[in-house]
């Protein structure tokens, strides 16, 4: 399971970086979104992948850390997801305004002549 998870992070990072360097604004937004998914998965993976150990304290009130998944990365990644969502929305609207003002979706605001 770890190798699939790590490969998914790698693929998301690679495609995100490639899209981020493309000249069209929509590709830049998609690249940013993919990159933030990769980072979120990476943060989430820092708690190690465990199965059937939700970080919810059971009825016996046991607090042994080995019984539960690490709650700290989960809480941090929830914050990161929300902030990433806000950033993407703001960036999307700024680029929409750019599209409306310049009439092109090139990131430089004008098409390349070459």
């Amino acid at each position: 399971m770890e190798i699939v998870f790590a490969l998914a992070i790698g693929v998301l990072t690679a495609s995100g970086t490639w899209l981020l360097l493309r000249p069209r604004t929509f590709q830049v937004i998609m690249g940013l979104a993919l990159l933030s998914y990769a980072v979120n998965l990476f943060i989430f993976g820092m708690g190690r992948l465990v199965i059937d150990k939700p970080s919810i304290i059971g009825a016996d009130n046991a607090t042994d850390p080995a019984l539960y998944a690490d709650p700290v990365p989960q809480a941090l990644v929830l914050t990161a997801i929300v902030i990433g969502f806000g950033t993407t929305a703001l960036f999307l609207v700024v680029l929409l305004a750019l599209r409306g003002l310049t009439g092109t979706d090139h990131v430089d605001g004008h098409e390349d002549d070459a």
Binding site: G10, G47, R48, I56, I57, G86, A89, A97
Partner: protein, 268 residues
């Protein structure tokens, strides 16, 4: 990146600060869902700042897209007059409803709204002790709103629904900050949580805590912010329908004054 992730994943976790949270979640936070307790209690100030950021982003999105809106005089007019005056829109919002087999998702989406509302409140209320929480509940609720826009069209929804997402954002922030300030009344520091177990008739044992108010604030703000952003984007499609042939360089001027739009249309 993949190699780095794999290298970390295959090594055992060192001793971190998570054992502190696991040990103190029930004793000091009063909740069994450790992730939720971290968010609304131990790191409550961080979450308060975070929902403030989301609210600001939503209002910025709204204001930036508002620049492309029609002039205020055309907004103040009642919708039937405005629609009749423009002449290129159906007079009755019901006419914009999809016909034929596309009615099936429209009806299903409408039935989904009350169900999603109940589920989101359920998530909100159980969030402290079981999977759930304000963020999840808020997202479920705003998804239900957006589904209405998607299946029934912007005009139809706006003619029936009058929710004001800006008010939801304000109420959410006030509720979250009020939950934090309420701890002062009990001479504790800001955002200290308090939990009570009350026994109500009919309902049985009820778990109450001040973090529920904080989570309610998160819920309201997430609903308001998400809906405001997506509605602002939905209005973009409405506007491009109204004047599809406006050239780009004059677009900003034309959106500010519909009179100029008709003049330029008549001139061309």
């Amino acid at each position: 990146m993949a190699g780095l992730a794999y290298a970390i994943l295959t090594r055992p976790a060192g001793p971190g600060i998570s054992s502190f949270f696991l040990e103190h979640s029930l004793a000091q936070g009063g909740g069994r869902n450790v992730v939720n307790v971290i968010l609304v209690d131990f790191r409550g100030f961080d979450t308060l700042g975070e929902i403030t950021v989301v609210g600001i982003v939503a209002l910025t999105v709204y204001k930036l897209l508002r620049r492309f809106r029609p002039a205020p005089e055309s907004i103040i007019l009642p919708r039937p007059q405005r629609v009749g005056a423009e002449g290129d829109e159906p007079r009755d919002p019901d006419e914009t409803l999809p016909l034929g087999y596309m009615r099936v998702p429209a009806v299903l989406g409408r039935l989904l709204l009350p169900v999603a509302g109940v589920i989101s409140v359920f998530f909100l209320l159980r969030g402290h002790n079981a999977p759930g929480g304000g963020f999840v509940g808020g997202l479920v609720m705003s998804t239900a709103f957006i589904v209405q826009y998607m299946v029934s069209g912007t005009l139809w929804v706006e003619s029936r629904m009058r929710i004001n997402p800006q008010n939801w954002i304000g109420a959410g922030l006030l509720s979250a900050a009020g939950a934090g300030a309420g701890a002062w009344l009990a001479s504790r520091s800001f955002l200290t949580s308090m939990a009570w177990h009350a026994r109500l008739p009919l309902l049985g044992e009820v778990h109450l805590s001040s973090t529920l108010l904080f989570d309610l604030g998160v819920y309201l703000l997430v609903v308001g912010a998400t809906t405001l952003m997506l509605i602002a984007l939905a209005h973009q499609s409405l506007r491009s329908h109204r004047a599809p042939s406006v050239p780009h360089d004059t677009a900003t001027e034309v959106w500010r004054s519909p009179a100029a739009q008709t003049e330029s249309g008549a001139a061309s």
